[in-house]
């Protein structure tokens, strides 16, 4: 039995550490709700929902500089807008806010569903099963987000490797992530240099190119940073969310049958997948002034991780918190964060997740997990048989 102080010392929220992380969350919430890990140069972690929520509402105490990402996403450049503090943060964010409202995203509903149906139909046509991550969970957001952002279709096949290297291999092989990061920056440099600015198109890239802050256009470094952020934020998280939902349903046939029989529950199930199996288990800050949380002093300059994944299973907020209850009605989870840095794409991510699960259930007959070694987390293979 590992002591709580040892769990704290070794606490990590990436890679293999995620395999059994929910047991560690429970132990930490109970015995060491604010603790210190030795990983990634040392950082504090906060695991209680109310503490995370309060810290999220206090950008004057917790800065997103040098980065919300721990460890870095293959680059040291601060990513716009997530790594930017007020007052500039809101100027950057407002450029794209109008494109991510529910009313505007309604225009994507049919394209998302059509893409989901095409992918699911192809998945079924192949026979008795296959890798639902590679054939469905990953391509769906890649296609939808790439069209929205304006990434040319001929480039899409390159994207999975950049995502894998930058987001997944950064932990054990930071150099590999940096190399992919440089390739991604070069890719956007080329794309921006050849961009047709005269047209009427209204992709995300058009918006950031046309945007003005206090009467000036974004400079090249700002454009690079915004493009980099959109890429790493728009493709992977939604793929993980869809894959983890399918993972749960593949392992829990009772829930799968319940959703097939009561499709109106799928929207609630998706919120529950986000609460319990979220793609973003934690985000980092830097403490700007000496602060005390639950009796634990945190010094100015210390790095702090807000562990959403732990807070989302907090027994003080959720009844039966580790149970994935596909009909749970009260669910104010923090999978998209809270406060001024709330995930800008949350309305899109939710829409893709919901349509993705609904269409898969509609088109693919009852499926189960064919490989019990495949984990709940990440975007690697999810082998299903039906």
């Amino acid at each position: 039995m590992t002591e709580p102080k040892d769990i704290a010392r070794q606490f990590d929220f990436h890679g293999e550490a995620l395999d059994n992380i929910f047991e560690n969350y429970a132990e930490l919430r109970a015995k060491c709700p604010v603790g210190r890990s030795e990983k990634y140069g040392g950082f504090w972690f906060i695991t209680k929902s109310d503490d995370i929520f309060a810290a999220e509402q206090d950008p004057e105490a917790f800065s997103v500089a040098p980065s919300m990402l721990l460890p870095a996403f293959g680059t040291d450049m601060p990513l716009i807008p997530i790594d930017i503090d007020p007052p500039m943060h809101q100027d950057y964010r407002r450029i794209l806010l109008p494109l991510f409202t529910p009313q505007v995203l309604k225009n994507l509903e049919e394209p998302i569903r059509q893409t989901a149906r095409d992918l699911a139909t192809e998945f079924v046509r192949k026979g008795s099963g296959g890798d639902a991550s590679y054939l469905y969970a990953r391509p769906l957001p890649t296609i939808i987000f790439s069209r929205l952002a304006g990434y040319p279709e001929k480039d899409w096949p390159k994207f999975d490797r950049w995502v894998d290297d930058i987001i997944y291999h950064r932990v054990e092989d930071p150099e590999r992530a940096r190399k992919a990061g440089e390739e991604l920056i070069a890719y956007f440099d080329n794309l921006l240099a050849s961009w047709d600015n005269e047209g009427e198109s209204s992709t995300l890239i058009d918006y950031i190119l046309r945007a003005e802050i206090d009467g000036r256009k974004l400079n090249h470094a700002e454009l690079q940073s915004y493009c980099y952020l959109l890429f790493v934020a728009g493709l992977d998280t939604t793929a993980w969310a869809i894959r983890s939902g399918l993972w749960h349903l593949a392992h829990n046939l009772e829930d799968q049958r319940k959703l097939r029989a009561n499709p109106e529950l799928i929207a609630f199930a998706c919120e529950e997948f986000l609460r319990t199996l979220s793609p973003v288990q934690a985000m980092a800050r830097t403490c700007l002034k000496d602060t005390v949380i639950r009796g634990q002093q945190i010094k100015r300059g210390d790095r702090v991780a807000f562990v959403f994944g732990a807070g989302n299973r907090d027994e003080e907020i959720y009844a039966n918190p580790d149970k994935i209850d596909v009909a749970r009605e009260e669910n104010r989870h923090l999978a998209f964060g809270a406060g001024i840095h709330r995930c800008l794409g949350s309305n899109l991510g939710r829409r893709e997740l919901l349509a993705g699960i609904e269409e898969f259930l509609r088109i693919v007959p009852e499926f189960r997990a064919a490989d019990s070694t495949e984990k709940w987390h990440g975007v690697s293979s999810l082998t299903l048989e039906f």
Binding site: F53, L97, P98, T101, A267, E329, E330, N331, F336, S346
Partner: protein
């Protein structure tokens, strides 16, 4: 029952629209407000407004008895 959205707290999660789209609306930047004429909630919409309140990640929605 009365309902109020605190504009300083709302961050645009839009969960209220899922539970009570008759009562809330979203502005051009994604922030929620109570529709004009719905400050007092008709009895038949009270339950959905309570659900919206309970599901707001920012605790931005408050309901009061009168």
């Amino acid at each position: 029952m009365k309902v109020f959205v605190d504009p300083n707290r709302c961050q645009g999660h839009a969960r209220c629209m899922f539970f009570a789209k008759d009562v809330f609306e979203i502005d051009d930047e994604g922030y929620a407000k109570v529709k004009v004429g719905f400050e007092m909630i008709p009895a038949e919409l009270e339950l959905s407004v309570r659900k919206a309140c309970a599901n707001c990640p920012e605790r931005a929605i408050s309901v009061t008895a009168s």
